[in-house]
Symmetry: C2
């Protein structure tokens, strides 16, 4: 018998993580200390819901909408956390304030959690709440924001609503990852998946919008009801632009005058190429630019902002 | 502005975890120390594959089969780990030996991992390998093994192969969890999900078998190709029992003489009730009992065993 290795008492993690602050079990922690047991069913069964809100120039944007969606998801999944919406909001404010980030990506999560006996019955688990704030990130980088994304339409089926409800924000992304690798193979930046009828659904982290003859369309089923998607509806209503939630066929997407995608991580992001072919004239469209500008303008609207209480040294 | 809370330097986890030993980053650790960054895409995108092998009476059962499936999954997901199969086998042996568990549930995982910049491109992530050994557990408890499980047939669609390949063992379980809660609501112990044609697929952690007129059947698509499922094929071949992989309709399941489910976590587990109605005569069936006995007998077959090198004090 060979000699056994020694049992260490504490994990030494050789990896680097982004800066930021997390909250777990009543403690605020540096991001690199925010760790979850590998036995948590949020990991082992992806049995979790979450939301992501962003902080821009020192204020949350549409925080209540994100909190409402999160609490609905918790309830639908038969989970509970020992905080109400106001308490979660306070935790998120504290994470951002302690991180001193003026622009942040703020995620909050409820997992099924663990039971001391590793019971397979989800009712035996103690649910877990985690929140963290890290630097703001975007689906599209600076160059892609200027010249537009290249989107590949894949034949990967987005996990259907009869399996997993897409309106409960979840971590089931292997279909998205498969789509991404297929997109990379054809030189695209990102991917869109299809629904059970072969129509456009959503991509990794974003909703898809097509504009034709001045009318904006986005899929109404098999997709997350994105808060940024809702913001587009609000913008279109405000500007008198016709906006429809309806099936968007792949043909319609390819025949669109303009295409853009939306996400809390990046906002409104233009698409100028679909499957290697230019969208419309192949440059950023007029309506897309108008909507994009309006989206960032709305960040100054006090009714949609919640200002972060930074420590004095960090205030501008 | 209210006073900000303090930033702690280290997470103090108030929870209890089962005993056992884990491996991460070259270290062997007590189970309660095995933690994953909340930024790992294995968690945030359920972008991971894994396998579970069991140790029974001090030896692994069919370890090579589990390793082969795991390494195929890693490759299919465009991941890599810095260990070959022999090295993973050695790590697993060490986890079990250090845990001193004679009967163990041994899981090994490859996650997409993290990138220091939180890049959304999966190609930028450094993949992560984790393994752990905890006490052997079963889908069915002692009472259920004696009297049979009560299985509910739900209308929840198992995530289809056109979204996520079920033969790559994965953590996409929200459909399973939904099925479980539906089963609990009708007083059943566990659930089976359906495939796109409304036929029987699989349940949370197990394959399903129906026996009618001496012929054993199990679904051939939309399911994990379980190692225990394969062991049933081997047993049937050895005993001259006809065994078919084919569509199993819900009607056929309910009209079966005997039903059982299979999992590494528990082996062969009899089902005596489906949707509140007795299966056959409502007691453990003769063929099921024969197959169950043979399954545990096979654990003495030296060609299927890999003996764990326990420290001397722990040997029987």
């Amino acid at each position: 018998m060979s000699k056994l290795p020694i049992l260490s008492q504490r994990h030494i993690d050789p990896r680097s993580y982004p800066p930021g602050v997390a909250y777990m079990d009543g403690q605020y922690l540096p991001m690199q200390e925010a760790k979850l047991s590998v036995l948590d069913y949020g990991f082992l069964h992806s049995d979790a819901t979450y939301d992501v809100v962003h902080v821009w120039k020192g204020a949350f944007f549409r925080l209540d909408d994100h909190l409402n969606r999160f609490f609905r998801g918790i309830e639908e999944l038969h989970m509970s956390i020992p905080y109400d919406q106001a308490q979660v909001a306070e935790i998120l404010h504290n994470c951002v304030a302690l991180s001193e980030l003026r622009n942040a990506y703020v995620e909050f999560i409820c997992t099924r959690g663990t039971s001391p006996t590793f019971s397979r019955d989800p009712r035996d688990a103690e649910n877990r709440f985690i929140a963290f704030a890290i630097p703001f990130g975007s689906v599209a980088n600076k160059e892609q924001m200027e010249h537009g994304l290249h989107l590949a339409v894949t034949d990967v089926l987005r996990i259907p609503p009869s399996s997993v409800d897409p309106t409960i924000k979840n971590y089931h992304w292997l279909d998205m990852v498969k789509g991404l690798y297929a997109a990379y193979d054809q030189g695209a930046d990102t991917a869109v998946l299809v629904d059970g009828n072969g129509n456009v659904s959503e991509g990794p982290g974003f909703n898809v919008f097509a504009i034709r003859d001045g009318v904006v369309s986005t899929p109404d089923t098999s997709v997350l009801l994105g808060i940024t998607r809702q913001t587009i509806f609000d913008i279109c209503a405000g500007l008198g632009i016709q906006c429809r939630t309806q099936d968007v066929s792949v043909t319609a997407l390819k025949a669109a005058d303009e295409v853009f995608v939306t996400s809390t991580a990046g906002g409104v992001m233009p698409v100028t190429k679909v499957d290697g072919q230019p969208v419309g004239s192949g440059v950023l469209g007029t309506l897309s630019k108008t909507i994009l500008a309006k989206y960032w303008e709305m960040h100054d609207d006090d009714t949609l902002r919640d200002v972060v209480p930074y420590p004095e040294a960090a205030e501008l």
